[in-house]
């Protein structure tokens, strides 16, 4: 009897999931018409499954296919580089491989090369630019994975490595104000091995970026050098850091153009200037809801928050901190072990 019940239950489930054979369907329909108990059981099954229909998930981003293809192209380019080099060196070799060409052949070949360079180089350059941008967004996506794990473990707050009230986030701000690098906070994500790796903190478009050696990372409190971190993170230095920001604010993104070489540059207009990271065409910003998108202007979201500024403040000394949870302010990560930072602190 037990196994018969089990079989009927299995068949009813299959019926509701539309995966029952024609033969079984005919048998079940006859049973449903004949037996009230079976019909009642089938109704229960329907009620049990019906709430699952409510679980709709967000559609994939519209550019997902492009991202996939770009990623594959990127990997193909990387893996083919070795064989291209191998072919080139092989072609130089054999005697008589390129015997006494006539001048007109040389000119024709040179013209072809010039034509191809003219046609393809701009396209390749644009392709590389887009590929780097996609890789940058992937980096921030990896950082988000670690961030969400951290937030699950620490009651929803963002990584915070501590810091006394009144610390500055720019070195050499004043003799009285101790400097504490803001990159210590996101560094916790690698220190605690929450997912992101050192390479995820270096933007592929950052010509000066260098991936830090991860050996001994768990014993350190910050990146070794400023070039190990291409991204500027939400300011948690200064007085009263806001550790529970709202989901639609920025957490980390491409470099804030106001602070180049660890100095405030007052000639930069923060309302119109993009990050230097991606040919100044825009910046990739990771929001606390997990979206990592490229913005063509330094504003985002329905309220047009500007991650380069606190409110409408346009001058910074290095001690300012935002006062509202929905006002993100991205500041540079400047590890104190970096010789340049040490020099600036000494001034």
């Amino acid at each position: 009897m037990g196994s018969m019940k089990r079989n009927l239950n299995e068949l009813l489930l299959d019926l509701h999931l539309d995966r029952v054979s024609d033969e079984d369907r005919a048998w079940l329909e006859a049973e449903l018409a004949r037996d009230d108990a079976v019909r009642e059981k089938s109704d229960r099954m329907g009620r049990l499954l019906q709430p699952l229909d409510h679980w709709n998930v967000a559609p994939a981003p519209g550019n997902l296919t492009d991202k996939v293809l770009m990623r594959i192209q990127e990997e193909s380019v990387a893996s083919n580089r070795g064989s291209e080099l191998h072919l080139a060196s092989g072609a130089e070799g054999g005697p008589g491989f390129f015997p006494f060409p006539r001048m007109r052949n040389v000119i024709a070949a040179a013209a072809c090369v010039l034509l191809m360079v003219g046609v393809f180089v701009p396209g390749i350059s644009e392709l590389r630019y887009r590929s780097r941008r996609a890789a940058c967004a992937n980096n921030l996506g990896s950082i988000y994975r670690g961030l969400s794990t951290y937030r699950e473990s620490y009651a929803g707050v963002v990584p915070f490595a501590g810091g006394a009230d009144g610390n500055s986030w720019l070195p050499g701000c004043s003799k009285e104000t101790p400097f504490a690098s803001n990159s210590r906070h996101p560094y916790l994500l690698v220190k605690l091995e929450l997912g992101p790796e050192m390479k995820h903190f270096v933007c592929p478009s950052d010509a000066h970026g260098a991936v830090m050696d991860s050996a001994g990372a768990s014993r350190r409190g910050d990146f070794a050098l400023a070039k190990n971190v291409s991204y500027d993170a939400r300011n948690l230095s200064g007085g009263s850091p806001i550790l529970r920001p709202v989901k639609t604010t920025a957490y980390i993104g491409d470099r804030n153009p106001l602070f180049v070489n660890a100095k405030f540059n007052e000639s930069v207009d923060p309302t119109t200037t993009n990050s230097p990271a991606h040919r100044r065409r825009g910046q990739t910003i990771l929001m606390l809801d997990g979206t990592a998108e490229f913005h063509n202007a330094p504003v985002y979201g329905p309220d047009g928050d500007n991650p380069w500024m606190i409110g409408q403040l346009t001058r910074y000394t290095g001690t300012e901190s935002q006062m509202r949870a929905d006002d993100a302010f991205l500041v540079p990560g400047l590890p104190v072990s970096d010789p340049d930072v040490i020099n600036k602190m000494a001034r």
């Binding site: 019940k5 089990r6 239950n9 299995e10 009813l12 489930l13 999931l17 539309d18 995966r19 059981k41 229960r44 099954m45 009620r47 049990l48 499954l49 019906q50 709430p51 699952l52 409510h54 679980w55 709709n56 998930v57 967000a58 559609p59 994939a60 981003p61 997902l64 296919t65 991202k67 996939v68 293809l69 990623r71 594959i72 990997e75 193909s76 992937n138 996506g141 990896s142 988000y144 994975r145 969400s148 794990t149 699950e152 473990s153 929450l194 997912g195 997990g290 979206t291 990592a292």
Partner: protein
Amino acid sequence: MDAPTDETLLKEYLAGKTGSFELLVRRYAQELHQFVLRFTGDSTTAEDVVQEAFLQVHTSADRFDPTRRFKPWLFTIAANKARDYLRKRTRRREVAFDAKLSEDDESGSRFVHLLENAGDSPDEALGLEEQRRAVRGVVEEMPDNLREVLILAYYHRFAYKDIADVIGVPLGTVKSRLHSAVGWFGEKYRADVTAREAE
């Protein structure tokens, strides 16, 4: 003219027709994203996993067994990567996912019990959005091995045999896990909705 099958597209791709691979990506990126998003609950991870899965298809295309079907193979790759992510996450999260099913649960006793005793749907008083949240919360709490089967069977309508291929277990185990998953869902959803209504 009928659209080319997945297996034909992969064969064409291996023969040098790159556009065929793009067609495969366009055909499955959306569905694969939905699967991984439901399985992991994280949109960024879903994007990453989809990219990684297609990258692996690209690099391993010549090792594809032509006697198998492409779609379960693709989902197998994505499911493995999603499981890796979940393993990393749970290792640090120490959640009560170790509420391991007993042998009795594995055989679907909850499921049978619910069919014998379930009353009216308890969620009628809740708004649609709240029902959606409740469903999501309950499915996300479900043990990974049950959630995976439920998602493939209910939302992607995979055949039992294909699910068995994707997760690498016998057919009978797929069926018993599906019953356990439905039973788990019914029981927890009822408790969750009752608690919400009491608030």
